[in-house]
Amino acid sequence: MQTHQAKRVEITIEAVMENRLTKALLDAGVTGFTILPVLGGSGRSGHWSREGQVTRAGGMVSVICIIRPDRLDSLLEAAFSVVDRHIGVVSVVDCEVLRAERF
């Protein structure tokens, strides 16, 4: 089938920053994103897990954003402006998509 080049950006970020990140993405012209829950993880700031948590400070989410390659830079800048002072990981993968008109 006919597919099209795109970029898949994955941003793992603290849940408290989710709204600020997605707002920045939409402002940067992103047409859509998908948010995945995260159970736990480990990094320089230690180990964490969602189990039994009632505080809203602890968890993270993963925001997946598929975009046209030419929009990558503005997206990364928007993302970076939010994650800059915060913990979080940004990774980009080359991908191919069906129905390119959406992105």
Binding site: V16, M17, G46, R50, E51, V54, R56, A57, G58
Partner: protein, 326 residues
């Protein structure tokens, strides 16, 4: 003295405390016992819903006391002031950076609703009444401390706390405050009639639900403490058990000044003595990401919460009893 001891032991052997201890021990033994996040949140919603509604219904039943507004004012003043005291103490005692000290300080100005609930349940067990609107005092004490902490940073810190638009709204309208205040108002509006309707849900099973919730708190606190042992230097630990009695003393002063009932004084002491683990950590992550969360969460959940639950509350009650003869 021996009475106080008996009380303390009685308190320590209540199911509520013992389930907290069970969770704590299970976490330290690295058992995989755990309560799903959704269930823990559901239990916490239940507690806010029940405690708010019962507070409101009690206000409806007993009328508003002349001291309602003054108590709210006292709560706000305490919440603004205590972070400054805590910050000073931390800078004196511990080697914490300005940022970390301010973040911790914010937690101690604000309150822990489950500590409040535990104190209410001890009062109830001892047959001591208290003002229903203390729930509202709890609600207004959640947020001011956050502003204090950010002001401290702006005043003493290099790193600029980001007081961006939206944060204040987020703090004032955070889910726990809205549910607590909303349930309080609904309890007030619907009064005894409303309470009769939902009492089998919010009164009778309350203590049992609280046990399960404290089991979860024990698990979370225990796990946090196990992972973050390294940050817990002696000076910090000391702060975590010193600050509650200091807060309680302030609460005592205000409570006596306002002429609250003995039960009300105990609750105000408990509020002042407790440290936030829901609203403030979330605000700090947003506004002060450089502050190390292990420090403030460990102190608040791992040291001060267990301290208040086990020793603090019976101590505050004993003091009030001694002073008022209740």
């Amino acid at each position: 003295m021996s009475d106080m001891l008996a009380l303390a032991v009685g308190n320590l052997l209540s199911p509520i405390i013992l389930f907290f201890v069970l969770g704590f021990a299970a976490a330290f033994a690295r058992s995989d016992l755990s309560i799903p996040e959704a269930v823990a949140k559901g239990l916490s919603l239940y507690l806010l819903f029940a405690i708010g509604f019962k507070g409101g219904a009690s206000v409806a039943a007993h009328g508003i006391d002349a001291t309602l507004l003054l108590s709210l004012g006292a709560g706000i003043v305490l919440s603004f002031a205590m972070p400054i005291i805590a910050f000073g103490l931390l800078r004196l005692m511990s080697g914490l950076s300005v940022t970390d000290a301010a973040a911790v300080a914010g937690h101690y100005g604000s309150i822990s609703i489950v500590t409040f609930v535990a104190a209410s349940s001890v009062l109830q067990g001892a047959g001591i009444a208290s003002e229903g609107y203390m729930v509202a005092v709890a609600a207004v004490m959640e947020a001011p401390a956050i502003l204090s902490a950010l002001w401290i940073i702006a005043r003493f810190g290099q790193s600029s706390a980001k007081m961006e638009s939206g944060l204040i709204r987020e703090i004032l309208l955070n889910g726990s405050i809205v549910l607590l205040v909303g349930s309080f108002l609904i309890g007030w509006i619907t009064g005894d009639e409303g309470l009769d309707m939902i009492a089998p849900f919010i009164v009778a099973p309350f203590q049992g639900v609280l046990c399960l919730f404290l089991l979860d708190m024990g698990l979370v606190a225990g796990r946090g403490l196990r992972e973050a042992r390294s940050v817990l230097r002696p000076a910090l630990f000391l702060f975590g058990v010193l600050m509650p009695p200091i807060g309680a003393t302030l609460g005592l002063g205000f409570g006596l000044l306002l002429g609250l009932s003995p039960g009300g004084v105990v609750l105000l002491m408990t509020l002042a003595a407790s440290a936030s683990y829901i609203a403030v950590p979330a605000a700090m992550r947003v506004a002060l990401p450089e502050a190390n969360p292990s420090i403030y969460l460990t102190l608040s959940l791992g040291v001060t919460f267990p301290f208040n639950l086990t020793l603090g509350i019976p101590l505050y009650l004993a003091v009030v009893r001694a002073l008022t003869g209740a």
